[in-house]
């Protein structure tokens, strides 16, 4: 299973939440050093799949292998950065205090310097001294994203990191994601905005707990004969409905 070209290998994953099967036999590989987009409508199971990869989700069947270890293995702890969909940062601390705290528990060499680096990465340097509780929604989301960037994670799992951000900031963040990937880090980024799909190296399209496609954006366009990824996704949905 220790395939060094594969960062995440998911095989036949099934998850039951609230009595419903929200992931139904999902299988795919995420290549190392790539930016993989996880797309699909609200409630299709994106967050659940990410939780399974990070190792905080009870699974009903199948295997998830992350960086050669079973998901949730303690060895993976400081190798994965996970930004949850809701901001998860201390509202009563400043941005700098908050990130310095997380950098210290991560045991990076120079917590203060690492905090400064990630604050700059998410473009919050001008707000570094502000209380997190006084940030705007988008700024708070970026503060939360910055936590995942601390240290040197080999895998970044980012749950809708660009939601609620303006086009300029979204573009900046996607540029940042690719810069991080160039250093060999693997990124799995969820979104339900199709125009972000074009910026991914690979795409995983989900619907109602089932994987509809695992392809590159070009491959998807070619396969569905649609130049627009949104149309391509709709086409896949129709095909899967017709097949069912």
């Amino acid at each position: 299973m220790t395939n060094s070209a594969v960062a995440v290998a998911v095989d036949g994953l099934r998850v039951i939440r609230g009595g419903r099967e929200v992931l139904r036999s999902v299988s795919f590989d995420v290549p190392r050093g790539s930016v993989t987009g996880l797309l699909g409508p609200s409630g299709c199971g994106k967050t659940t799949l990410m939780r399974a990869i990070v190792g905080v989700q009870i699974v009903a069947g199948g295997t998830v292998t992350v960086l050669g270890q079973p998901a949730g293995d303690p060895l993976l702890r400081d190798k994965i950065g996970y930004a949850t969909q809701n901001a998860a940062v201390y509202a009563d601390l400043t941005v700098t205090e908050c990130l310095t705290y997380f950098a210290s528990v991560l045991r990076v060499d120079d917590p203060a310097a690492d905090a400064r680096r990630v604050i700059a990465d998410v473009d919050l340097t001008d707000h570094a001294g502000k209380l997190v509780g006084n940030l705007s929604g988008g700024q708070r989301g970026r503060a939360s994203l910055a936590v995942a960037l601390l240290g040197t994670p080999e895998l970044l799992v980012l749950d809708e990191p660009t939601v609620g951000l303006d086009p300029v900031l979204r573009d900046d963040l996607w540029t940042l994601f690719h810069r991080i990937a160039e250093r060999g880090t693997t990124l799995l980024v969820s979104s339900h905005v199709m125009d972000e799909a074009a910026r991914c190296d690979r795409l995983l399209l989900m619907r109602e707990g089932v994987l509809l496609a695992d392809d590159t954006p070009e491959g998807l366009r070619a396969h569905t004969e649609q130049s627009d990824l949104e149309q391509a996704f709709l086409r896949l949905v129709r095909e899967s409905e017709a097949a069912a």
Binding site: R51, V54, G55, V56, I58, P74, R77, D78, I80, G81, Y82, T84, N86, A87, A88, V89, Y90, A91, D92, L93, T94, E97, T100, Y101, F102, S104, V105, L106, R107, P111, S144, V147, P153
Partner: protein, 274 residues
């Protein structure tokens, strides 16, 4: 573990709420142990609780008991609030998952919370003793009374007692914060228990029902009151009552401390917190 404790400690020092709790504990202790009794001394008995106490109880010789007078009730309650904040706020900010999904093990994270509760209460008890010492010195200076201080052994023993009681309530708060995964409800319930139910049990139920009287001897509150009484806290202070011996009380309070810590750790370990 040490890195986690340090990071947790620094984080807590950045929170204004914690300093507020400390300030309230010191101000209330000074008010009820010195300011009100001293005012009562010069203006004659006003009927306010504690106002009828004589000058000797306010002099440096008796400051250990005065520093501990509030520990069974309001200082303990503040320690409980602190414990709830330390553990429970992680749920409110949804930060447990940020801390735990990638970083320290649950054991380390919980252990550093407890360590911080213990360290913060040490700071708290030192502050109370400093405040009470200052208060008693001020009274002695104003009245031209001699400044005879208790022996160092008595002072350290008193600090140990205060620390044990406050840390026990702090651990209780942390347990409640974890059990209810929040801040507001555990603080509310903890205070209802400490300030209302405990007093009702002691003043109404215990005299009427014998088994409640027996029960009092194993409940945390009355045992902390007995410890404060053993250290010289004035017996008319609410919650201070030499119901049991100090040895018995020490064992019971330490037992609760261990039990609260263990139960909180078990809950942390067992439950899905995300």
């Amino acid at each position: 573990m040490l890195t986690s404790i340090r990071a947790e400690l620094i984080k807590q020092t950045r929170r204004p709420a914690n300093w507020l709790l400390l300030a309230i504990a010191a101000v209330l202790t000074l008010t009820f142990a010195y300011a009100i009794p001293y005012a009562g001394l010069s203006s004659g008995p006003s009927g306010a609780p504690g106002s009828g106490r004589g000058l000797p109880s306010m002099l440096p010789e008796a400051f250990v008991g005065n520093a501990l007078g509030g520990v069974p009730i309001f200082v303990g309650a503040l320690a409980l609030v602190f414990g709830v904040l330390v553990a429970g706020s992680e749920y409110g900010f949804q930060t447990w998952k940020t801390v735990l999904a990638q970083r320290p093990s649950r054991f380390t994270a919980y252990g550093s919370k407890l360590a911080v509760v213990a360290i913060a209460n040490l700071i708290g008890v030192l502050t109370l003793f400093a405040a009470a010492a200052g208060g008693s010195a001020a009274v002695a200076a104003l009245e031209g009374a001699p400044m005879n201080w208790p022996s160092a052994g008595d002072i350290v023993l008193g600090m140990g007692v205060g620390w044990l009681v406050m840390t026990m309530w702090g651990a209780c708060g942390a347990l409640l914060g974890i059990a209810f995964r929040s801040v507001a409800l555990p603080i509310g319930l903890g205070l209802v228990w400490m300030l209302a139910i405990q007093n009702l049990l002691a003043s109404i139920a215990a005299p009427a029902l014998e088994f409640v009287g027996e029960l009092q001897k194993v409940l945390p509150g009355p045992n902390t009151g007995a410890l404060a009484a053993a250290m010289g806290a004035a017996s008319e202070t609410p919650g201070v009552d030499a119901l049991v011996g100090s040895g018995h009380a020490t064992i019971v309070v330490a037992g609760y401390l261990v039990a609260f810590c263990a139960l909180g750790g078990w809950l942390m370990h067992r439950r899905d917190i995300l």
